[in-house]
Symmetry: D2
Subunit: 500 residues, 4 copies
């Protein structure tokens, strides 16, 4: 049993930049046409209210934007179809979420090569004709500007390609080719929407990533290219092993990932002209694989809580990869639980990590304490709220008791919401059911019913020594709590106590 004993003093403050709601990741754009996708996103938006959404495949064939045609003389003309783009972006805006544009991958009709990635065959080669690529980008942005208005579209951030430092995502991980793509694309974007903020290089960790950031910024600087932010990814997974379609790996420590992010931050700041330029972590999660069982677990929830408490120290935004389990990069999952990236499983079963995002997304007030397991916020009206989490420490797990003394006195009520092994955690139930691929209606209802946090209330009546609350967290548990002053306004004659 670990214990944590915290006493908040009046005037205490702590550094906590909460950008939880900035952005969330998604499976490829074309999947946003699906009904199940939209239902999952609606559910997540109701709980978390993300501002932006970012995913791959805007220009991939299933979005059907690039549609050249031959005239009577056999001459090809460029032409575009925005039917699906409009359908997807209309649906985003209707849910109060905006696109964080990622310009890529390559329409096969414009590709210089045949290399593809993923089950859904994303073409990852440079354009065979730079002018046509530039025209595609410009036509798309011009269309968006006409449909949604200059101000609206200019508020969407725009990133060029995804993870070009991996040869699968960008043929040969060819850096000069990427920089050239950035150059022509960035200029095209600013030609159409001068106020749109753009950035790159959207790299994943390792694979020369820090080098890529340095070279990218140097290139932008030397060629006087527009650049408004730097983007990179952050995953916790170490070298994996595979079995079948599944992947397994140990997780890095949060300090380790913070070091990596800080290094990028320092590279940016080392350019005088780019000092304090925003850095966005446009993808982060525990594992980087869509069939890694960790994503469905309480462990994932606890680790994510730690990340959400710290990533704002180094990044102006971060985007969990991904909101839901409508996802096809490594094929279509045949089971409701399969280690998919999402916060919510297919058929609308919330995973524990969704609640962690819900807790962080709705935090208000001024941070008065932040530690490795606890965050406390003070509201202007004299109430407090906070989150406690119990991740493994260097691989070791234990129960954790958190004791918090608050610098107020009087009658208070503490309300807690907890996800842990037994609460808000549908995976173990499904395992015990025998891992059915095909849920009956009753099983589905049961799993949804089970996927709610446990709610508990405590009356706290303090004298001068201050309000004191104590929380016990099981292994990997995450608890949100509020502590609010209570003024009882009992209706005349009401006395339910004899029945309770």
């Amino acid at each position: 049993m670990k214990t944590l004993d915290i006493s908040i003093k009046p005037g205490d403050t702590a550094d906590f930049s909460n950008r939880t709601t900035f952005c969330v990741g998604t499976g490829r754009m074309g999947l946003a046409l699906q009904k199940e996708y939209q239902e999952q996103l609606k559910y997540v938006q109701e709980k978390c209210g993300f501002r932006f959404i970012r995913g791959h495949g805007l220009f991939s064939d299933d979005m059907a934007i690039y549609q050249p045609y031959m005239d009577e003389n056999g001459i090809e003309h460029e032409a575009y179809c925005f039917t699906y783009l409009d359908r997807v972006f209309d649906s985003y805006l209707a849910l109060g979420i905006r696109p964080f544009l990622e310009l890529g991958f390559m329409p096969s009709g414009l590709a210089s090569g045949s290399q593809t990635l993923f089950y859904w065959k994303a073409n990852t080669t440079p354009p065979k004709d730079e002018n046509k690529w530039v025209n595609l980008v410009k036509a798309t942005l011009m269309h968006l500007k006409e449909r949604y208005g200059d101000n609206e579209v200019s508020s969407w951030p725009c990133e060029i390609w995804n993870e070009p430092n991996l040869p699968g995502f960008w043929e040969n991980a060819d850096k000069p080719a990427y920089l050239r793509l950035y150059e022509i694309t960035a200029k095209a974007v600013k030609d159409v929407l001068p106020r749109m903020r753009i950035g790159g290089p959207a790299i994943c960790g390792g694979n020369g990533s820090q080098e890529w950031v340095r070279d990218f910024l140097a290139f932008c600087h030397d060629h006087d290219l527009p650049v408004d932010f730097v983007t990179r990814h952050a995953y916790m997974g170490l070298t994996p092993s595979h079995k079948g379609r599944y992947l397994y790996h140990e997780m890095r420590e949060i300090l380790d990932i913070m070091d990596e992010m800080n290094e990028t931050r320092h590279i940016i700041d080392s350019f005088e002209s780019y000092r304090d330029m925003p850095m966005y972590i446009t993808e982060f999660s525990t594992s980087y694989h869509p069939f890694c069982p960790i994503h469905d677990t309480m462990l994932n929830a606890a680790v994510t809580a730690g990340l959400l408490s710290r990533l704002g120290e180094v990044a102006e935004g971060y985007s969990y990869w991904t909101f839901g389990d409508v996802f096809e990069e490594c094929g279509v999952p045949s089971r409701p639980f399969h280690g998919g990236f999402g916060m919510i499983a297919n058929q609308l079963i919330p995973k524990p990590t969704l609640w962690v995002f819900h807790f962080f997304a709705n935090l208000k007030g001024q941070c008065v304490y932040k530690g490795a397991n606890l965050l406390v916020m003070r509201h202007e009206d004299g109430s407090f709220e906070g989150i406690a989490w119990n991740p493994p420490v260097q691989g070791k797990t234990d129960e954790l008791t958190v004791s918090v003394r608050l610098p107020v006195s009087g009658k208070y009520c503490a309300l807690s919401s907890t996800v842990d092994e037994k609460n808000g955690n549908p995976l173990p139930l499904w395992l015990k059911m025998g891992e059915p691929a095909d849920l009956s209606d009753a099983q589905l209802s049961y799993l949804r019913e089970a996927a709610h946090p446990r709610c508990e209330a405590y009356e706290v009546d303090s004298a001068s020594e201050g309000v004191h609350i104590e929380l016990t967290l099981g292994i990997y548990a995450v608890t949100h709590f509020t502590v609010s002053p209570v003024i009882r306004t009992r209706d005349f004659g009401y006395a339910p106590e004899m029945y309770i």
Copy 2:
């Protein structure tokens, strides 16, 4: 700690007639026009799927059916308006529930006196003109027949008036006047819809109720009147005390209420021509008052579980009073929790009793055990389900351990859903919040989130001695469980264990 140790043998059966879904009660018909009412009913129907719904006030002024007019010569003509009736009944049928008709109270334009009951001023006097009453009844049924079809409407049971053995509900509790009303009304009903099943006398307990049943049947017999079923009510509340608008009383034992019901049953069977005629308990609950705090509690849930296990022994149908808290008999409630009759509180917060109905409503299979705290059903496919409940015994409360041995072996999975003090029980949370009349969005979300049962799963792997499960029930707890054989169908390569 009480313990219950049960061993089911192959071939065991027990007597359990489950009529949980037969019917449910409602606030007056006019309230069914309201949006909140419809939302509560929809919620309850999704969980319980009741077949009929019964409430008062079909002919009361707010339903605006009886609308005579004066012609140019000052002569009054009978006329009817079915605008609201259609709106209400359309909405019922759209939710898959049908009216259990209760013909009453008196439109003020047809009333012989000015006596009214309730905050909403139900006129409870006989018609001033029998012919006009008969015309009203016939016109209403004729209209329903035209709108919904003869077969449909003929399937709705029909009761004459409500609780005429109370002077507030029927002026002077005038028995001959009631019998006369029954006579003319029953004939009118059968004139229009010969297959419609009708009954009475809809009496509450005490107040000469058994006498009323005997006299009612004797009258029907002597006058050769149509009668298809007998109706009466069953409430558990003893002599009450009042404070403010609230009412408090101790509850009777279930045996006591069963005795009272059986006495009525015997009276019916004492008439040779009426032997085995169905008896419907058209209202039952713990307290008979809409501001009795018991209705919101776990105690109510536990007592109701006991009633649902037994009422089918004596009655062909029973109807919990009421499904929701849109109810005005003693005024409009100013707080979400106020002891209202409903299974669900205003603003769509389920109470514990809703889950008890949900558990009973969805039971399937053959009963193999029924006792004072436990019910077990066997399904054809080799699985079992059951409900255990822990009511007070002669006022004493204790934890209860239920141990059940089932006559099967192999790998099984037990899934339980439990409401108890800490789970599915929003009232104590609201009390600790300070009993706010006006819930903030956050408080409302929290209470709804808290109002779910706790779900737990257990793997059971038995050898030859049979499957054995053990449940621990806190005071007043109610647990539903299923025990199903498990065939694990693990996807190749899937091994989540390292993350759990």
Copy 3:
């Protein structure tokens, strides 16, 4: 055949203050609890987008706000219940509409007399205790401020009582008593919400109305009372005759009603301190009776179009009485068409007048022409839109041809939407059906299908002489039109002409 020949010149402007969307009337507050009411309001809001909604009965018994209780010693305490108020106002805000508060009528528990009005028995007597009335007003506003925020609630206008110059609406039409009520209420409002804008005297026409305005303002001035706007009503109906529940009357000319409104305007401006104070016409329509068949007709639509073109000349806001047909002042209607006030009939059948509001509510740009039958607006992008209407002139009706020349040239497309005898006019169809009280599903679908405007498009290709359009309006017809430049962007190979 009348003809109107208009030629718009570059730079033309005309005076048209469009306050169509400012406010709309409603049946009493308590009816807003109903599902059908909410569905009608949703429909109307989607077409018209009104900003405020105003109706009677905020404090009437069915809203159940004033709920004093007796303590153990028999002493009465003031207490309030906001359950229904919150439900109603939550539903308004969810539809994007805000309350235009009307403080009245009297809760029976606070009434000095027993005089009631309407089928629903609104008590129209002064408070028996001024302090308790003031407490009621303050408690209600304080509650609203807490629930919806100071800024939100302060933006809602607030009117004291309704039509006190009629003895039915205010006992004896007692002017001093009204002024006293205004005095104490206005102070109470400003005590709680200093920025809330308040006004009166909410008078109907005739019945000494101009006198009432003068006396009201003199009283406010002399007593230094807060007053932010003046309110009055405007109905077109002349002395009526009755038959059964129905009322019939001829309509005044628009000039006549404008004169009456201007007189009030001049009275206001005659007070130096109130010059330019806003005047709101908080009710207007053709007839002032809820069973006058005109409301369902094209005549109503044509007359209303004329009013909407002119009322902004004299009033800063005006509010059509009422949006829908869920209305009970003279009883519950038994037929879908019965001359109810609403723009939409029960069961969601739009009346012609709804489309007139839809046309006016969505007008954009600068007015370039306004006449007795025509309004033309110019948009910044070079397109035009307008409305033409064909009301009777001094009782005479005729077809009308409207010819408009616009100061632009090139390829244009004119789109028109028309309601007239044969289009968007379900009443005559229902009459021919035999006036069924109870619509079958097929009849209802048919009437809804019929209740849409006719849509026509014309290509206009002009040379230098300007774009010219010509509209032919049947008797009482109302037509909306847009004239927009066309740039054809035909897809390569597309040629549907062979099939058309």
Copy 4:
């Protein structure tokens, strides 16, 4: 001006087998995952209520059913994923429509060749391994049986492959290979679901189609294979020309297509053992191309009306290809109108043909007249309904006047709904707008508003000579009418005439 003068006699009957609602076609199964698809289907189902739905691609890669995996030893194992299948079929059943199974095309992992068809790359080669194909079919049906029940799934018809007489749809149009596929598949189906009804050969017209039917039946007969029905297609389009992505052709006469269908019918009946076996026309339309502008026109509506009046003479079912415009066989359409197969355009704009289906789908009663332009039905209650249509006759078009005398007398009301050039016909409006690819909200609302039939009512008051109605149909117009007896039930005092 053509005229048609019909006089119905008492006792007249005519041969009209109305199978309009039997089945409707759809774009490939995978598209049913999309939200827009589901919304279009919901709209169409509300208007038409089809019983079955049939489309291609059940086994294509985007449905992701066939998912073999490699074990540790590199050995491939068969495995299946029903995630998307369940999602699609759940959504169908929720809309009250059932699958008409079409078993095909080939998952690429099971294909013997690389030939693909369509933009979405349907593999159209035989299985590389017959056993694995049989296992795939059996596993899929077994799964459906478990999920939806034996009775439910056994009621779905099942067809093997699509248009194997075209080399694009079945490699080399290899008849022996198809017969072999039928043999193994039919046996597999009956192994799992003995009561499921199966058939083939799903041929299109021309291309040796009659030969194929004969050979197919002979093969089944000779090999004693299960066969429950014969399927073929019927398209009206003659030899086409192309421009860009669009295709144009003249239409055949209905007599011509009836001859072709009858020939197939006779072939079936020529087999003694198959006489009277049902024939299903599993696809029919005007053009067989998804970019042929005819589909959006009134001409299409008029021709379809003629087909719907006749196809039941020869076929036990027929299925219009397709319900909606979510369709990708020749690429994604970039415009709302592009000649897509659907009855409803993208963004939910009904085309005229939808109303024709709506008219036919809801016909009731006994046919009393059927001709080339008119159909009349008699209801049991003494009312009549009918449909009149005005297609081109041998390429010539003219207005048509239809006069019908009905053998009843008294007061009647005729209600008509008409689609014609100016009503329910959004295409011409869109053309005049300039054919915008990207509709503004206002344009979309306008087109939807315009896409409704014109509704007209006539009072008919006949003496002894019978009720007489007269309809005037513009070119290509289609009119539905009902003629019902009227009993006027006017409310006392109601007299709207002075306002009309």
